[in-house]
Symmetry: D2
Subunit: 327 residues, 4 copies
Amino acid sequence: MNKTQYSVILSNVGSCSDRFLTEGYDRPYALSELFERVAQIPQVTGVELVGTWHVTESNVKELKEYLERYGLQLVSIIPDHFGQMKWKYGSFAAKDRAVRQQAVAHAKEMIDAAVELGGDLISLWPGQDGYDYLFQADYIQERDWFAEGVKEVCRYRPDVRVSLEYKPKEPRTHCYLSTAANALLITQEVGTDNVGVTIDFGHALNAYETPAESVALLKKHGNKLFHVHMNDNFRHWDDDMIVGSVHTIESLEFFYWLKRTAYSGWLSIDQYPYREDGLEAVHEGVRAMEAFGHVVDSLPAEKVERLIREGRSPETAAFLRECLLRV
Amino acid sequence: MNKTQYSVILSNVGSCSDRFLTEGYDRPYALSELFERVAQIPQVTGVELVGTWHVTESNVKELKEYLERYGLQLVSIIPDHFGQMKWKYGSFAAKDRAVRQQAVAHAKEMIDAAVELGGDLISLWPGQDGYDYLFQADYIQERDWFAEGVKEVCRYRPDVRVSLEYKPKEPRTHCYLSTAANALLITQEVGTDNVGVTIDFGHALNAYETPAESVALLKKHGNKLFHVHMNDNFRHWDDDMIVGSVHTIESLEFFYWLKRTAYSGWLSIDQYPYREDGLEAVHEGVRAMEAFGHVVDSLPAEKVERLIREGRSPETAAFLRECLLRV
Amino acid sequence: MNKTQYSVILSNVGSCSDRFLTEGYDRPYALSELFERVAQIPQVTGVELVGTWHVTESNVKELKEYLERYGLQLVSIIPDHFGQMKWKYGSFAAKDRAVRQQAVAHAKEMIDAAVELGGDLISLWPGQDGYDYLFQADYIQERDWFAEGVKEVCRYRPDVRVSLEYKPKEPRTHCYLSTAANALLITQEVGTDNVGVTIDFGHALNAYETPAESVALLKKHGNKLFHVHMNDNFRHWDDDMIVGSVHTIESLEFFYWLKRTAYSGWLSIDQYPYREDGLEAVHEGVRAMEAFGHVVDSLPAEKVERLIREGRSPETAAFLRECLLRV
Amino acid sequence: MNKTQYSVILSNVGSCSDRFLTEGYDRPYALSELFERVAQIPQVTGVELVGTWHVTESNVKELKEYLERYGLQLVSIIPDHFGQMKWKYGSFAAKDRAVRQQAVAHAKEMIDAAVELGGDLISLWPGQDGYDYLFQADYIQERDWFAEGVKEVCRYRPDVRVSLEYKPKEPRTHCYLSTAANALLITQEVGTDNVGVTIDFGHALNAYETPAESVALLKKHGNKLFHVHMNDNFRHWDDDMIVGSVHTIESLEFFYWLKRTAYSGWLSIDQYPYREDGLEAVHEGVRAMEAFGHVVDSLPAEKVERLIREGRSPETAAFLRECLLRV
């Protein structure tokens, strides 16, 4: 993985909040400052921007200047389908038709903005689409709306790829775009070439997926892995921790399968540095991605392939032990 | 749901084991005794049989006699792809080609047996197909084998339906046929009309699915709900408890959506009565299914539909409270 | 449970945020408005106030007026050990000695405020005490600090009870005050009569506790159940949903054990109405608590005691089915 | 950790079953064979035996011969409180008084056997003590019985240590001896010097404990860590996998804290090699324990202590990355 390109979601180098400390664990950072901080990480050559948080109707020109000034590429825009009061009952699958239309319209605007900023990818994370309570949703109708909205977005510009980021829960107790397999079902309903899937490593763990298997599943069903968000967690919740800080072997296997399936997209940090300095945490996250890439490149490919083919776990465990613990 | 047909997996009225008490929590029951016990539950008019455990090459005639004697219908056969040493590394997705062939061959035999016994459904639960360890499996290759094997089974007799029962884990730490969405992806690969999906209520909970939503998902994607296994658990594991003993509202919503989507198949008990008398536990499980059906039938349909359409959770919670607690 | 007293955490009738929608799912509510809204729920006769959010150094007189105007009793103050940047590395167990001292000082101030407002209970929820990462904490030292700080708070005024609210995770990935048993260990270290434990129904579910068993555990070990927070969730996370909206039988059993152990404290709503009107959601939550109380009172006590004594699950399941589904 | 002593539960080198393949994933192994296999692992100098499975009233002499022949030390006996039909409703906490007495009597017999075989430790795992269903248990009464029974066992021979192995679930859906903190509460009720706690690494993960923190908790509350069982899993269930095969950093931190708290007991393998050769799997598990011990010994202690003291996660993550990935 020599030509790996690393990026970061811009807000990751700033401050973040939770429901108890709504004003943030750190002081607010201005947009310019966030760019300036990203630019301090030499390995990072691209950024992802979030609708509303970073991209507004009026600041595209300003963003362009930042990208140029710091030599950063626009990797994707994540339209805001989660961060405003109007999405509280959903976006593409909202019960209110007007909201569903706004969801599509906003995504199109963000596509336009992405193109203007030199990008060719948007990453949809419609986290408010789903439900909290039992007997609260018409699962068929709302899933239909969801697919229709995404389809309209995908048809808007065939030259821009639309990548669907799945996550089983949060902010809803149950999200429609919940797992890799669910995301694939939706790409099939959409049916266009420019629709694909974003794996967020932590979301895959939350869904009890083995992240490497999720890579394989998306490869198998139409080569649909379009984008990757990296972080880590303790499996039960999207803790958005520093890459590799919990799951050493899962991370290694994930990078192995990215290489094995010839993934050629970006590797993008998606961490929430509640109590860390965001810049330090992202920098370490990127170093961890580099390290996993290096280790994967240094593995004896033939032997690993044989281990996978034979599946004898004591031998595999011994191999990984020697690799990681050197004894 | 007036014409609901209730059935039971034959072994459920007998004894069961776990890894600590391998000889069973109760004395063994002879085949004839199991039938005789099922016949004591008036609501039950069908049985599911398990390959090896109940159906062998030589006892089909004997089984036919039992079915006739007790006036029971054969609902399905669950081929044995999990209960013999030869499946320990998998069945349809086993690394050993000979084992994969045996998996297909056994399924065909069970199809023949089912037809001979008057049935038209087999329920595949290839629980050994998956992996335990990281770096242990070629996820693409093995999933390909899995779909190929199932396809061959489905093509064997187009007049017999083949229903795939998904479950995220156990006996493997990760099973390939893991979720409703994953099962749908496989039915698409198979591509025949006679392939569908079995929802086991408890397996859906294990996958953090809302069981009613799983019903909807299968309806939406090709009307693929072929069969239902009922039980309950504490979400984290397939505890196989008595129907309705933990999840009152999820069960109610599940039965509501079975009716709403016009499910017309069997409702089959799949409990593991470790410390209960199996007959008593199944009888209570069936009564619980009847009760949920009755409550669903007594609900004011227009109001429930409005609640679902509007999704206002305090009102919905109030409705359910009055329904269940009568105050 | 005839004399049950219902209360609510004041912010529950207002708006709330999450990390994606930091400005809130609803408009902000003024303090006066929150009181005015609580007063609209006739069953509620008490409120819990949160430090910083509701109680400041300068507004105790104002709060007193509100309490009097609306005829509400102060049930407890929850000191703010979670909602300001200074607690981001912990409060009682913070690595910084000055912060630990501030945690104690703030708790004492809140005790004084509580007394001034006619209260005799504070409910500590030191949610920031714990750790996120592995190798990040000296578990012994920090637990020692934690117990020392709480002890100093408890000794400040023996006539004010100090109740410890446990929760396994959030906002830290791992909190020190994690389970009922852990809380009991800390009450033992503190060793005063005025220290006890708050059960938050949802936190108990998060810890894979059976809430009724947690009531029993605290009864058994020194009659230490001092306070109750009610809500519901889907087990894996503190979703803070409307009481009874998910777990019907667990809630019923919880209320049964509250009565069985002669719990005489308040039953307080602790919900997060992200997408609901807070007032409606709390009102329904209180109605649900009343309903569970009524059902418990109407249960045939002798029969329930016999069921518990004998533990025959099919019979118990049948009893609960008839109770809830009436068939 | 130079003088670490490694042991294994004897059955681990043989075959094991689950509820689907009750006759075992491998052929049965005779007692003599199991000893002979353990003896092939040079690092292993001790064995744990299980009541009924390995130790009967009549074979103590035979066992003594095996121990001598193979130069193995008896590390502990795990009395059988889980593997016979008579324990199906519990052992120390069973509702039937006669069963409770048998539980105590069996433990005493196993103490006698242990002493005769040169041991001074029994490890109690009363996995059947708990409940499956809601409203099924008198949590106070049964916990009282549990503590009384254990106390009687502990008083039998003060020179033999009695170590309590906790586990949140399986075989019951809820076990009384569920967590480290719960185990400590019971040791306090027992009140003797010879009662302590066994940490099973995987059980701690199941309880959402950080295993290193569990070591610390037991150190802090009376130096009560008496014994260690090692394995690994995917957090949600007791998968009993090869040591270190999933959780690299948790395992490393666990060994670090064993050293830091001067744990001087045995490190004993407790794996279930469903599809592996038991001997190979145990051998690899032991090598992994050695490797973690070596890495811990090679860590710069001052730096690690500073990292723990300061808790700055990006720096800690960088340190662990360099340690494990060498880049």
